[in-house]
């Protein structure tokens, strides 16, 4: 495929790098050094120029492009770029959007601004946070097959009831598959006898109900509605609070700027908005921070989010979720005690990658900054899986592939050794990154 990417920032570079191996990629950026650096690192064609300029786009041969991705940091630039490109190309046009207002406009009309798919960064991040918050102890949650299947990632603590237990004993659920164990830098594909160690992270795939029950088993004393504090009235903070209140929760949100606080308070009727500096200890004590179950740090800088998360945890809050803009800090944050670090760019990259897998993968979840992926794939006649029991077809699949769940005609099928996969089934598979290309070709 021929892919044109406009914007060589963090998101653009990440997408370009992951696509360059198997596709032809051209990257356009107004900043020449960005383009140059990227050209040294990866096998792409770089063009320095303004993506909203039709001449620049034509220089990149966009009339031949299969996919065009606008992912600069500026919404308006992305929208104008897409609208401009639309006039000369038949390509599938994807745009990254921060603000939810453009998303709403786009959802209301067919192909507004000439955009075929919008990846709304802030909204996706808020959705990720809201999913994680909904599941006690979870670090990541993704939805597959229109909500029939969930994937969740849990960290096993010292006190966890499944620490030092074999997978066979821990997996007592009918429709739950232990897909992988992340142990330090390695990915372990669990067998029945694999012992789960404290510090491991397990990836489970299964029905939402079973995952919910499993999560409650890991954290037995988290019943009832959690007491949630969102710190920061950024777009992400706002959308997180909105999604939480839509679920019937009553979150609190702290914002320092009076006008912004007022704006959010007017828009969210079930959220208690507080105007204060959150690093003020007196304020935190007055609002009973020790009663708060989950603190979500969504301020505009990673450093502040780290500080707030650590401070509130020290003062007695249960769980801290922090937004981390720089992907390389995700591990660091989780190491120093933040329970979940959510990277907005990862959420965006997941969205955009979905559309570059030759429309075969229906859905993608990226695990731990690209160490593995969970894919939803529709099985066709060519697949090695079709019309065979899984026990047999497994031998033809590369190592590091686990079939987590199968859906057939809108119903969940639990994969067992004798399950026969049929044409049209959706399989949700865990794949290590090394096996990813081979696996998606064969399935």
């Amino acid at each position: 495929m021929y892919v044109v990417i406009i914007g060589a920032g963090e998101v653009g570079s990440a997408i370009a790098t992951s696509l360059a191996d198997s596709h032809h990629v051209t990257v356009i950026d107004i900043d020449g050094t960005h383009v140059e650096n990227l050209m040294y690192d990866t096998d792409i064609l770089g063009i320095e120029g303004d993506g909203t300029d039709l001449e620049v786009l034509e220089e990149a041969n966009i009339d031949e492009a299969d996919i065009l991705i606008a992912c600069t940091d500026d919404d308006e630039t992305n929208i104008v770029t897409c609208s401009t490109a639309m006039t000369v190309t038949e390509a599938f046009i994807i745009s990254r959007i921060r603000s939810a207002k453009y998303m709403r406009t786009w959802q209301r009309s067919d192909r507004a601004f000439g955009i075929d798919h919008m990846a709304a960064t802030n909204l996706l991040t808020a959705e990720t946070i809201a999913r994680v918050v909904g599941l006690p102890a979870a670090q990541d949650v993704e939805i597959f097959a229109d909500g029939l299947v969930q994937m969740a990632q849990f960290r096993i603590s010292e006190s966890s009831p499944i620490a030092n237990v074999t997978v066979q004993d821990a997996d007592r659920y009918e429709s739950l598959t232990f897909a992988a164990v992340l142990r330090e830098d390695t990915v372990v594909i669990p067998r029945g006898g694999t012992v789960l160690e404290p510090g491991d992270e397990v990836i489970v795939i299964g029905s939402p109900e079973n995952i919910q029950t499993f999560a409650h088993e890991l954290e037995p004393d988290t019943d009832g509605k959690p007491n949630i504090l969102v710190v920061g009235g950024s777009d992400i903070g706002y959308h997180t609070a909105r999604l939480l209140q839509e679920r019937g929760l009553k979150p609190k949100l702290v914002e320092q700027d009076h006008d912004r606080a007022r704006e959010i308070a007017e828009s969210l009727s079930e959220t208690t908005v507080l105007e204060s500096d959150v690093t003020n200890r007196a304020f935190l004590e007055q609002e009973h921070i020790d009663d708060v179950d989950i603190v979500i740090a969504a301020l505009d800088s990673d450093e502040k989010n780290l500080l707030v998360s650590l401070l509130t945890k020290r003062l007695g809050s249960e769980r801290a979720v922090a937004v981390v803009e720089s992907g390389e800090y995700v591990d660091l944050f989780e190491e120093v005690g933040i329970d979940v670090a959510v990277n907005p760019r990862e959420a965006t990259a997941e969205e955009i990658t979905r559309f570059t897998r030759e429309h075969k993968a229906e859905n993608v979840a990226i695990i731990e900054s690209d160490r593995a992926e969970v894919l939803e794939i529709e099985v066709d006649e060519e697949s090695v899986l079709v019309n065979r029991p899984i026990r047999e077809s497994v031998d033809d699949l590369p190592d590091g592939v686990v079939i987590g769940a199968i859906t057939r005609d809108g119903e969940l099928v639990i994969p067992r050794g004798d399950t026969v996969v049929k044409h049209g089934d959706h399989v949700i598979v865990f794949v290590e990154i090394e096996s990813q290309k081979e696996a998606s070709r064969k399935i």
Binding site: S269, T272, V273, L274, E275
Partner: protein, 511 residues
């Protein structure tokens, strides 16, 4: 400092309003021709009205009202109309025993009419004392004042439409003007159309009942006369016994129309567009109907268990299921939204029932209705504002907008509502004391409850009070000074205080 308000323009425009009042006087003239009596009175009144109106108009040949001139005009127009409306009472009373022959009484009756108060200073309401024509004029003043003479002006006079939004804003009840259509004249026309439509429907039903034999006393004259005073939440009746003079069926028919009169007329625009869901979702409408229903249920209980003695008007309510429900529903529907009709002499009811009615009188109709009082929507905002205050005392950093039916109420509007409500209660309290002092001065025996109800019934444009001011009583006994005070109260009550008070501030007149 020089005077910055071009008052000549305001007065000239008031002249135009007065001139058109002469047209309204053709109605009682026609009644006079039909029933006989007071033909000369109305011919003379029309003549005087036209001369005064045309004379005032000459003060300025092309009035273009600015913001302050508009405020002054609205206040003057309501004052002027009340003065002119008193002329037929004085002329008709000349040389008779009628209490209305005195200008102060005539002005009281006229102001009470236009402001839809319904308090009366007549000694006796009967066709022996007053002609059919004069009593119909009394009814008509309420109908003209109900939806508002300024709204009517904007609806029919193109020159008033220029500054129409501001004019209506000063006159319309409620904190904010709701524009239904982009053109204000069209909005005004729609409001009057709803008003006229309900009036016609109501009169039609009453006449129908009469000819069906279910309402022997409700002849065409009475049907029209009550049509003129129900929708404007007026309360005047050409019958001394008010609605108690009619059959229970009539009383039941009056109740829903009184309830409609207390609703926001802008809401009927939603019904016109088949938007029933939004109509029913309106928080003020829900609160208005809820308050009515709640009070009715409690009062019904009181009356059923014997809170009222057996009365000549109203009958026995103790143990009488239908009568106690009817009396409770009617009195609450009438007093809560400031109509002032009665089917029972509630001034003789027990203290608990009277207390309940006094409470109802504090509530008032909806914003954008023809009702008086503080208005439901303001109480809702005040209550929610207090709740917010209590919440922020516990959480000093919390930002909590006040919401009404999902919409955020602007902070400026909230403080304006606090200001209005406080001013209303303050004026009511001060006036109560002044009435007591004045009564003491002339040796008039008056209880505190009577003084409170007199003050509340006039500033809230309700009409009847308690004690000797009951629904079948009269304000005649008050000294002239008290009557003057109450005329002022009715005037400022109708215009919701601030547009009148502002005229008496220095800042209004100077730059």
């Amino acid at each position: 400092m020089s005077v910055r308000v071009n008052w000549r323009q305001s007065i000239a425009f008031t002249g135009t309003v007065i001139k058109y009042l002469a047209v309204a006087m053709l109605v009682p003239l026609a009644i006079g021709l039909l029933y006989g009596g007071d033909i000369v009175v109305f011919l003379l009144s029309i003549g005087i009205t036209v001369i005064i109106g045309a004379g005032l108009e000459r003060l300025h040949d092309d009035p273009q009202l600015g913001a302050r001139e508009a405020l002054l005009f609205v206040a003057l127009a309501w004052g002027g109309v009340a003065v002119i409306g008193a002329i037929p009472y004085i002329v008709a009373g000349y040389g008779t025993e009628s209490a209305l022959r005195y200008p102060i009484n005539a002005l009281f009756e006229s102001m009470s009419g236009f402001t839809t108060t319904g308090a009366t200073v007549t000694a006796e309401i009967s066709f022996e004392q007053h002609s059919h024509a004069l009593l119909m004029w009394r009814q008509l003043t309420q109908w003209l004042g109900g939806m508002g003479i300024i709204v009517l002006m904007v609806a029919i006079l193109p020159e008033a439409a220029v500054n129409g939004a501001q004019l209506i804003e000063s006159e319309a009840p409620g904190p904010e003007l709701q524009k239904l259509t982009p053109k204000i004249a069209e909005t005004a026309r729609l409001l009057w159309l709803f008003y006229l439509g309900f009036t016609v429907l109501y009169v039609g039903i009453l006449i129908g009942l009469h000819y069906a034999g279910m309402a022997p006393n409700m002849d065409v004259y009475n049907a029209v006369a009550h049509g003129f005073t129900t929708l404007p939440t007026g309360g005047f009746s050409p019958q001394a016994d008010s609605i108690a003079a009619f059959s229970p069926v009539v009383q039941w028919v009056v109740i829903p129309f009184m309830l409609i009169a207390g609703m926001n007329f802008a809401l009927f625009y939603l019904l016109m567009q088949d938007n029933y869901a939004e109509f029913l979702r309106d928080r003020e409408l829900q609160a208005y109907l809820g308050a009515n229903a709640g009070l009715v249920v409690v009062l019904w209980g009181f009356l059923f268990t014997g809170s009222a003695p057996a009365l000549e008007l109203g009958g026995v309510t103790q143990g009488a299921l239908e009568n106690s429900l009817r009396q409770a529903t009617f009195q609450v529907a009438s007093l809560l939204n400031s109509t002032g009709y009665a089917t029972s002499d509630f001034a003789q009811w027990g203290t608990t029932s009277q207390g309940l009615l006094l409470f109802a009188m504090f509530i008032g109709g909806s914003a954008g209705s023809t009702g008086g009082g503080v208005k439901i929507v303001r109480w809702l905002v005040v209550i929610k504002g207090i709740r917010r205050q209590l919440f922020t005392t516990a959480h000093p950093d919390a930002i909590k907008p006040v919401r009404l039916g999902g919409h955020v109420v602007d902070e400026d509007v909230i403080s304006a509502i606090y200001g209005f409500t406080l001013l209303y209660l303050l004026t009511f309290g001060v006036a109560t004391v002044l009435l007591l002092l004045d009564a003491g001065r002339v040796g008039l025996e008056m209880t505190i409850l009577e003084a409170i109800s007199a003050s509340l019934a006039t500033i809230g444009n309700i009409g009847p009070g308690f004690g000797f001011l009951g629904p079948f009583g009269s304000y005649l006994e008050f000294p002239a000074t008290s009557k003057l005070l109450m005329i002022l109260l009715m005037w400022i009550g109708r215009l919701e205080i601030i547009p009148v008070f502002v005229i008496f501030t220095g800042a209004f007149w100077n730059e």
